[in-house]
Symmetry: C2
Subunit: 361 residues, 2 copies
Amino acid sequence: MLNVLCVNLYAVGSLSMPFNEVRKDYLLNRWVVIATERGRRPTDFAKQDRQKAKTGVCPMCPGNEYMTPPAALAYLKSGKGVKKAKDKDDFRHRNWLIRCVPNLFPAFSPPKGKISRKQICRGEDLFEAVGHHEVLIESPNHEEHPAVARIPQLVHVINGYVDRLRELSAKPYVKYVSIFRNHGLEAGASLSHAHSQIIATPFIPETVETEFAASKKFWKENRECVFCDIIEKERDGPRLILENSKFFVFAPYASVNPMEFWILPKKHEATLLGLSQGEVKIFAETLKACLCGLKQLVNDPPYNYGFHLVIDKEARDYYHWHLEVYPKLAIWAGFEKNTGMYINTVTPETAAETLKKAVSS
Amino acid sequence: MLNVLCVNLYAVGSLSMPFNEVRKDYLLNRWVVIATERGRRPTDFAKQDRQKAKTGVCPMCPGNEYMTPPAALAYLKSGKGVKKAKDKDDFRHRNWLIRCVPNLFPAFSPPKGKISRKQICRGEDLFEAVGHHEVLIESPNHEEHPAVARIPQLVHVINGYVDRLRELSAKPYVKYVSIFRNHGLEAGASLSHAHSQIIATPFIPETVETEFAASKKFWKENRECVFCDIIEKERDGPRLILENSKFFVFAPYASVNPMEFWILPKKHEATLLGLSQGEVKIFAETLKACLCGLKQLVNDPPYNYGFHLVIDKEARDYYHWHLEVYPKLAIWAGFEKNTGMYINTVTPETAAETLKKAVSS
């Protein structure tokens, strides 16, 4: 892995000529062909009209709380401050800032009563779908998506992620908590009200497990965190988008999505649980700046983002949480689905160059 | 792996009640939650209107051959028979049945002159994108997709796949040939004329490599092909869709796509190269029947299909070629993309039950 970083990090694709190169992810055995089509620029992905989710009564808007199950978490307005909902009535309260409710059609559901590991894992390769599946409603305002959110509101959202992560990761049957966001119908958001999702699973999913294993191997070989190393190596390179006092944003070397970017904390931490309120605020500002730049550049594209983190304390040294943002500007089709290999028509260098401009303008 | 087959093969999901279970693929470390939404039936996926590719001058229609590069392969009408194009003029001939042309924006391109392995692989994790990327135009008739194709025409298509596979796999820099089809704009087909794609790569892509390795391991442990074993195990089970003299069609145990099905030849062969003309005809009939059933059931859904095969002779014993068909009825979003784990809202048992009816009606 170190080789990748040393040898290839400064490979550069340019806008002006077709450029084809096969690259491997920093940690995963995931390959991508960076294959630029002649003359295609990032702004060419901007669509005039995007498919929109059906409108109708929004179950996430204030006043429609009866349409969702009672919240697992709610922040309520309290004078000039915020309080967490505590009693049963509070969870149906209308005066909320954010709400986190169980998904009506959960992929994973809490166990009924106590459950042993043996009951969850019914065979080597068969698990009960025991866990949690929640929807975090990010604002009472239907359209308050992160790219346009007020910073104090986005701070509530990040705090909501952290609170749910803390509670869910403490449950004995939970081995991983995936916190993610789908934006736009084409990226899988069937409801247009600003929301994220949280899925807690009884095992560590494959991509994350592979990433853990590779980062652990790197740490054992180098006594250094591979993500800290990536920050050092990418810092002065052509894929840097933004760096501030606490966060580092760049287009990864082997991006599988056009305009993909990752946000890494500069402080080495395996999970979000150690974030101070100051860091949460800077994270909110960083996230908003990047998503706002993306929105302006490609006309509010659909995207998915997801946190990568570990809850196992053993991983504290070698894992480093981060957020991966995947704009949905291409379709993974027969080749990608059958081979596990990707084609990306925008070089990460071009993505970084254009996003950097958009973020700073 | 054997355990999976023995223990879990008869797990059954029913239409009438919500059913959540986490399953692992026969060979890959790929997990899916089978999570049925209450009361959702396969036919609920049928859309009235599907997004369509832009219309305009079709570069694949007869008369527009000048819009594509010269064909690498063409079958021409010849009296009552068929002949393969041989000289330069033939490749621009208008009287064609199928044509296979280089992709205008290739992900992989042929080397200029002789190239050594060392020149292709410029580092452990960096390859030149050397290979081939072709488009197989399946018929002079714009809309002659496999679900509605005349069988003799579909036979030409399969023969075209085999011919290109034979030629491309013989090249010293080619390690894998991916033959696949994107149907419908939402599945990545930007042009609506019936066509497939063929990509030859200088290494074996990850999914296929993992599948090879797992099937080799199974063979070493059991002296039996894992796919032959799957046929035996699935034969009398709830996931069988169709069986004829030469092929076996079923919904795989851990399908990651709603209504996914695989077509396996009953004869153990690692590649398509050994198909007799009789087998090609039966394969064309089987493929048409299944895709026609799918089309009727879910109103011509977008889909991707891809062949899995090996060209390395060493794999002859343990690998078994097949076709995987992935209807595109759901969107892989933040959870899938960040975790490598999937959510499928239709049980494979329900998929098989409904497809079986549609195919036989």
